[in-house]
Amino acid sequence: MTKPHFRKLLGALVATSVQFGTLGFAFADTTILNVSYDPTRELYKAYDEAFAAHWKAQTGETVTIQQSHGGSGAQARAVIDGLDADVVTLALEGDINAIVSKSKKINPDWRTKFENNSAPYTSTIIFLVRKGNPKGIRDWNDLVKDGVQVITPNPKTSGGARWNYLAAWAYANANDGGDEAKTKEFIGKLYANAPVLDTGARGSTVTFAQKGLGDVLIAWENDAYLALDEFGADNFDVVHPPTSILAEPPVAVVDANVDARGTRKVAEAYLGYLYSKEGQTIIAKNHYRPSKPELVPPEDLAKLPPIKLITIDDPLFGGWKKAQPYHFGDGGIFDQIYKPAQ
């Protein structure tokens, strides 16, 4: 390569950069951004399409919904730091309250804006077992038996894992009449049966479904069915324990952002339509529990059998503010009962 060649190369580099520089991003009529958490990807992919069609039919306007997914807490942080969300659909009430208190972008009365405390869908924790359920796992007490390997993520790092833990706690508490020493022993046995604690819920699903480790996966109901779709229904069975815990992921319009962008009307309609017949049906089809099941055709509810559900606000837990440090804080109950296998 001679000197002129080298200069040509430099020139070509600059020319390419100019070309790429002109590749702009074209926006459709109206765009709104839904900042959500990880497991709702499939749900909102389907719902966004349905809402855009509905909005077009109703108003004639074209709306494009952009999606951002990540850990619920990190997503709330991004909105606080300026991610221009029109609506947030997060895992925990506390994450939306953090946006309220740290950025004032959402009005404090957000929970009253939509039905069912602004939770259009709920979810619960269930089991996924190997096909034919060879270990006969039906209820939480089957998880502490000898020779049963339980796959669940680490509650220190995973939000989903905390729900798993608390669901087991609720069962044990009811079973031994509120004797906390016995409940602790039960939870200790359960985690002693866990050969590995992944850092997140999806990591655990991969460990169970792809790497073939363990007899039972404790998972979100929607995640269990998703794994069934993804890794083959002939390999696994879903088991609903008689009792579990109720999670109510909330939604809210980000008031300051929609007022600045002039998108309030469409953002409110977007969240409101989640409560419609079509919205609730899409929710059920994606294995979340609709808050208005009466709107949903019964065949779509078949996979979501009614089970006895306890909420985090039950006196047993006293809400996340109390449960978090008590169970998962440094030196909390989980630290006391869990000793990693050597």
């Binding site: 000197k3 080298f6 790429f20 590749l23 991003f25 999606q67 951002s68 997914h69 730091d81 300026g82």
Partner: protein
């Protein structure tokens, strides 16, 4: 070289290997360790990337690459690299020029500053921009009133990428230019060349291979950066997801083929970089070694 003491040792050594004293078995073991290490930690993962990407056939592979979100991630990564690499060429040459050719106070400090992105975790590199440009950050309010969007958009991603890739070009050029000194430039100037001509016809040709080397590394990192970009991206599908971020998303959706297909493109880029680098070294090895000073 006329030192008799040194000469007297020469018969004990094989030619060209004066520093090697290990026995043949020891050498074989060392080489085997290196070889096994390279195969297990570099070659196998690379093979697995391509194996997983093609697990459901070439058709599925191509299909997953033509997905709209994937295409937009590829476009964004190319755009970010196309902006940040030329910027780094300009910054790198300027910084190397200033440090190598001039004497000034704070030179050592400037050199350390250039190395800073290497010693800082990429996540911190991203967080710095959140603290600076975020809504709660130092300049957040000012940016908002002036309608300037940096964070969670392309400018933020470019800034974070420029930051983490900053040292690549400068670090290649500084030792090169320092070694070469000012002699050629002084000669050119005394023969009547102006500053620009001196740079274009004297300095640049002198450092061209080092520069190209730096650009290659810089480009590879610009396209592959995950941590810093993840913090400032906002993860908006089809808009602010770069290829590495998109790989993670696809993997979390249990879309292994899609994830590894995008990963295979990144791996392919790494391979191309490697080949170019090797070709450069083969053809201009002597020149590179002479000018790079190691």
């Amino acid at each position: 070289m006329a030192d008799p003491e040194i000469k007297s040792y020469e018969p004990f050594h094989e030619s060209h290997s004066a520093a090697v004293t290990e026995s043949r078995p020891a050498r074989a073991v060392l080489m085997a360790i290196v070889f096994v290490f390279l195969v297990v930690f570099l070659l196998l993962p690379l093979i697995i990337v391509f194996k997983e990407a093609l697990a459901k056939g070439v058709g599925t592979y191509l299909e997953s690459l033509s997905d709209a979100d994937t295409r937009s991630a590829i476009r964004l990564t190319l755009l970010v690299a196309a902006i940040s690499v030329p910027l780094n060429i300009i910054f790198g040459i300027s910084a190397a020029w200033a440090i190598a050719k001039f004497e000034f106070k704070g030179k050592a400090f400037l050199t350390t500053l250039i190395d800073l992105p290497f010693s800082v975790s990429p996540v911190i590199s991203g967080l710095v921009y959140v603290l600076l440009f975020g809504a709660q950050g130092l300049l957040g309010a000012w940016l908002k009133t002036h309608g300037i969007v940096i964070l969670f958009a392309v400018p933020g991603i470019v800034l974070a990428t420029v930051f983490v890739t900053f040292p690549f070009v400068a670090r290649e050029l500084i030792p090169l230019m320092q070694e070469q000194g000012n002699g050629d430039e002084e000669a050119a100037l005394s023969l009547g060349a102006n500053g620009w001509q001196t740079f274009w016809y004297v300095t640049l040709p002198n450092v061209k291979w080092g520069l190209l080397y730096g650009v290659l590394l810089c480009n590879a990192r610009a396209m592959g950066e995950f941590g810093a970009v993840s913090v400032v991206s906002g993860h908006i599908r089809g808009l602010t997801n770069t290829m590495p971020l998109h790989v993670e998303i696809l993997y979390n959706e249990y879309n292994a083929v899609g994830a590894f297909a995008v990963a295979s493109l990144l791996a392919g880029l790494a391979l191309v970089t490697l080949v170019l680098k090797t070709l450069l070294e083969m053809r201009y090895g002597a020149e590179l070694a002479a000018t790079r000073g190691h």
